[in-house]
């Protein structure tokens, strides 16, 4: 038995490992991620299933754990593909800030597992742990800032701008 192992923290939950790599949660430490875990809902979508519709009232954001999704937007004649969302990426973050309509429809391209985080729960979490709430709010702000910057620079193919 290696005594040094006693002082090592147990390995991180693989899902939390993915979450820790998402831009919004990058500043969160392990204890904060563990607290966050209580507010994440795991959902499974079949290939072809819609996660949310464009124009629908948004309530939260999603982190892709496994699988692939595509984001579409209604065009004049046909649907416009905004992009493909891969594991480790997030989408729908704008809904964490307010209950506006979704900017795109997101459909699972293959069987997909996501973690969902919702605004009311984030608000409760931010009240209980203001430091964590601040980090997440800043994370969302930075992601949106980088997207706005890219749009301003002419690169509008942002799958997560939902």
């Amino acid at each position: 038995m290696n005594l040094a192992n006693l002082f090592r923290p147990p390995p991180m939950d693989p899902m939390l490992k993915i979450v820790s790599g998402v831009a919004i949660f990058r500043d969160c430490n392990r204890a904060e991620l563990e607290a966050l875990k209580l507010h994440l809902h795991q959902r499974h979508f079949l290939a072809g299933e819609i996660v949310f519709d464009e124009g629908e009232e948004g309530e939260g954001m999603y982190v892709v754990i496994r699988g692939k999704l595509r984001a579409n937007r209604k065009g004049l004649l046909a649907k416009k593909l905004l992009g493909v969302i891969q594991p480790g990426e997030s989408f729908g973050e704008m809904a964490l800030l307010g209950a506006g309509p979704r900017m795109a429809t997101v459909v699972a391209e293959e069987d997909t597992t996501v973690l969902a985080m919702f605004r009311p729960e984030l608000q409760a979490l931010a009240q209980a742990r203001p430091r964590l709430g601040y980090k997440i709010a800043m994370g969302v702000a930075l992601v949106l800032e980088s997207r706005l910057r890219k749009v301003a620079e002419g690169d509008s193919s942002q799958p997560s701008a939902t």
Partner: protein, 384 residues
């Protein structure tokens, strides 16, 4: 992060209305059947909503959720011990005195009633013909000799039956506070993907409404207690009827009665007038003053306290309220009277939730599409 105010949606489908009222009345019956467990469960939910803001304040001060719960439990234990050592013996002494005084109070109450009925008989011929005073005395004697004894035995049995179940309240509250979030997640797991986001939002709305209702009711009870208590103390201190804490205690009992809309305030008022009657049988002016005090507090309740605390979010039409209270009383006795309105409030929100989710054609289409995808997946290699 912007907080969105919930849209004001009415229940458009009559069938939902019927289901809401049926659900509320049905659950009164169910709760009556499992009252021994339901009563502490409801008290624990109320306590959970009252304690939660304290824990949140502790967490905002930099304490983890587990530590906050520990601090609260420690403080509650210390307060319980202090209460048991300092206040409980005095309360028991007071109750023993009160028990000894009951026959005297009962005689005085009878004599006040008799005097007033005799005065009525002197003034009105029909009252004299009906022999109101003698009739009342006979009725009371029959009641005391017969069912009155049974009622006393019933009340004693009721208390013996309920006291152990009340021990469950702190136990249940502790687990609600500790594992509430995990339980919430477990329930949400059962919701299909298509309805998930909306259900979560509506759950949150229901939670906020219940929190506001229970905290509001607590605030309202405190305001009513202080108003009635101070009023009774002020009125009763001259003739030496009430000490400060007696008046506050009576105010609290009347404020608890007022939980039953419309009817409860009346019962509370009668109780206070009866108390004055037995303590000072000759002062009819004081009884009248107590009636005016109750009317005054009722007006304060209606126009200032209720909008300040509970608000008017759960306000129903008075006709529905009264019908629900009477139906609840008929079906569930005292529990029915007390629970009719909160249950109607909960079922109204549930009805709204269901209507918003189920009658959204797009969400239903998505739900059906998921079913078809599952079916296709299951029959992929069957060649059909």
């Amino acid at each position: 992060m912007k907080t969105s105010s919930p849209p004001d949606r009415s229940l458009e489908h009559p069938i939902i209305w019927v289901a809401v009222i049926g659900g509320a009345l049905g659950s009164i019956l169910l709760l009556k059947a499992v009252a021994w467990l339901a009563f502490p469960l409801i008290l624990a939910v109320v306590l959970y909503y009252l304690v939660q803001p304290l824990l949140q304040k502790l967490q905002l001060a930099g304490v983890t959720p587990g530590q906050a719960l520990g601090i609260f439990l420690g403080a509650a234990t210390v307060l319980t011990v202090i209460f048991s050592i300092l206040v409980l013996p005095k309360m028991l002494g007071f109750l023993a005195d009160f028990q000894n005084q009951i026959p005297t109070y009962w005689e005085r109450l009878q004599s006040v009633l008799r005097d007033n009925l005799l005065a009525l008989e002197d003034r009105f011929a029909f009252a004299k013909k009906a022999r109101l005073a003698d009739g009342m005395e006979e009725q009371l004697n029959v009641f005391l000799a017969g069912s009155g004894k049974e009622y006393v035995a019933d009340v004693a049995l009721f208390l013996l039956h309920w006291l152990p179940s009340l021990l469950l309240v702190p136990f249940l509250t502790f687990f609600f506070l500790r594992d509430g979030t995990a339980f919430h997640r477990l329930v949400l797991r059962a919701v299909p993907n298509a309805f998930f986001e909306k259900t979560l939002l509506l759950f949150d709305r229901m939670d906020a409404q219940m929190r506001a209702y229970f905290r509001g009711m607590f605030g309202l009870t405190m305001l009513d207690t202080v108003s009635l208590g101070l009023g009774l103390w002020f009125l009763g201190k001259g003739p030496g009827i009430f000490g400060f804490w007696d008046a506050m205690f009576l105010g609290l009992i009347c404020a608890i009665f007022a939980w039953v809309p419309y009817i409860g305030s009346g019962i509370g008022g009668i109780l206070a007038v009866a108390t004055v009657a037995v303590k000072a049988p000759q002062s009819s002016g004081l009884m009248l003053a107590v009636v005016f005090l109750f009317l005054g507090v009722r007006l304060l309740d209606e126009f200032i306290y209720t909008p300040m605390t509970v608000g008017r979010a759960l306000r129903m039409h008075p006709l529905i309220t009264v019908m629900m209270i009477f139906s609840g009383g008929m079906l569930g006795g005292v529990y029915g009277l007390l629970l009719a309105m909160p249950l109607l409030g909960i079922f109204t929100v549930l009805g709204q939730m269901f209507a918003e989710i189920w009658f959204d054609p797009r969400l239903r289409a998505r739900y059906q599409a998921r079913g078809m995808l599952e079916k296709r997946l299951a029959s992929k290699d069957l060649g059909i």
